[in-house]
Amino acid sequence: MILDLPRFVEKERPFWEELDRELDRMAQGLAPLKDITYSQKVLSLFHRACSDLARLGSSTAEPELYAYLESLVARGYAEIHAAQPRLRGFRPIHWFFQTLPQTFRRQLWAFKIALAVTVIGAVVGAILISVDPEAREVVYPFSHLSEQTPSQRVQKEESSYGIKKEMLENSKTTFSAQLMGNNIKVSINAMALGLTWGLGTIVLLFYNGVILGAVALDYIVDGQTVFMLGWLLPHGSIEIPAILIAGQAGLMLGRAVIGWGTREGVRTRLRLITPDLATLIGFVALMLVWAGFVEAFLSQYHEPVLPYWVKITFGSASLVTLFAFLFLSGTKTRSE
């Protein structure tokens, strides 16, 4: 096709420049997209630019013009065809009370697997400790757990409460921040390791379960069940479910990579679960911030500073509230 380029450019340039301006406005969120006349006008400008690009495709003497039109069409395509919600449209209240619990329930299968893997790990941990008490040094990640028996620790914590209280008073915020950062990193890893066909997530959940089971059995056998519940429940009631939900996200990712039970390609599968992953991991971060505060400001105080029944009640109430929220919130759909 013979194209009179100078005339073509002269005739079309005003339309390209107008589209360019409108795309800039759209990108800044200033375009009145709800106005149907405006939207139709932008769409028609975009179609015109597409048509110009197609016409120019057969003419080879205007590389810069071709690059300009290609860039214009690419921007137009990204703005016009992307019907996804933008950050500006994010409604936190709706997200928290509707989207989040609904997402959790929709992907409940993965949570059940994460829970099962952790429970199996806990059983294995308990068996390891009961068969070989020396394994404590290998299993426990913190030296203060393996270097003393639960009874010794309880005695130490309760007798030195004055010194410990003073120490904690001077480092509560720092300790809380360390806990939040570390736990959030572990949770993100639990999710990200789902890319290893879910195996990395399973290993991480299993190992967490092993530690949990070993510690629990150790304290129960030593007759320190109440201390253990008072120590772990306040923050663990949120922290452990948070790790499980991160594992749930990791297993969703693993399933999408494997493609088990679906016909779509891997890219489509990953694209479909991305919003759910973001929702779950966002909630995990919120939970761990809360758990970090509770662990630093509540869990580390024992009797006689804080009665165990207060801590156990607080932890149990947190756990019940969390699961009541996850299973009941957002179940009623608003009638139109």
């Binding site: 013979i2 100078p6 450019v9 002269e10 340039r13 390209w16 990108a27 975009f46 179609h47 597409c50 690009l53 197609a54 003419s59 080879t60 003497a61 205007e62 590389p63 810069e64 013009l65 071709y66 690059a67 300009y68 290609e70 860039s71 690419a74 921007r75 395509y77 990204a78 703005e79 065809h81 992307a82 996804q84 933008r86 950050l87 994010f90 001077n170 480092s171 509560k172 915020t173 720092t174 300790f175 809380s176 921040a177 360390q178 950062g181 959030i184 990193k185 993100i188 890893n189 999710m191 990200a192 890319l195 990712l253 890219r267 990953l270 991305t274 919003p275 992953l277 973001a278 991991i281």
Partner: protein
Amino acid sequence: MNHNRITTLDIATPEGVVFSLPLAGVVTRAIATFIDFAVAMAAISIVQNVLVFGFLIAPDISQGALLLMQFAIVEGYRAVSEMLWKGQTIGKRVVGIRVMDERGLNLRPSQVLIRNLVRLADALPAFYAVGGTACLFSRRCQRLGDLAAGTVVVISRKASPPDVDGVLGGKYNSFRQHPQLEARLRQKVSRDQASAALAAIVRGDQLDPDARVRLFGGMAAHFRTVVPFPEETAFGLTDEQYVRNVVDTLFRRK
């Protein structure tokens, strides 16, 4: 290395048009990552300096705040920047790249979040070894975070319509006496050749004199064979003037 690797992402629109997005390579991305790392470190250093007085008054709260800010900056800076700047961070802006949905669409906030969270796995065991390897072996140079979020990193460009008037400076072009030959020249010269000729004119002053003579000599000889103009039209023109006339013919708007 993946031998099926592509350098551009071709997107076919429902309007029946195909456009290409040039993909960013591993080295470009590594430079952007390094710059972002430096920016994050600078931001942490600023926060540290701001909190100096806080350490004197309330050391625990200041230390806690510093730890949280460090975590938020290291883990959140890129995600927030990419959400607010349409797929760009400071490092990406400097090297001229941006993150996009792999279908050529705008990024969704959930995609930004996932690609930045999986960064922790990409950074393992050190210096982005996992992510870099994934990039090298992936067809579209995607790290794990990109694969999980369905994103690609493209070379960012917002081209403007060609404006060669400034380069040509409104000089007289004897070829204008032959509009039919000019039309033939526009049809016969390929996009790459036209682009090379324009680049030669724009950057001519930066060339070594000998190289300049050789370059325009070769180009003029080539264009003379593509469409020969009458003897009297090309008479007295130097090779550079000849190429300048060709560029004027190819890029002139009126």
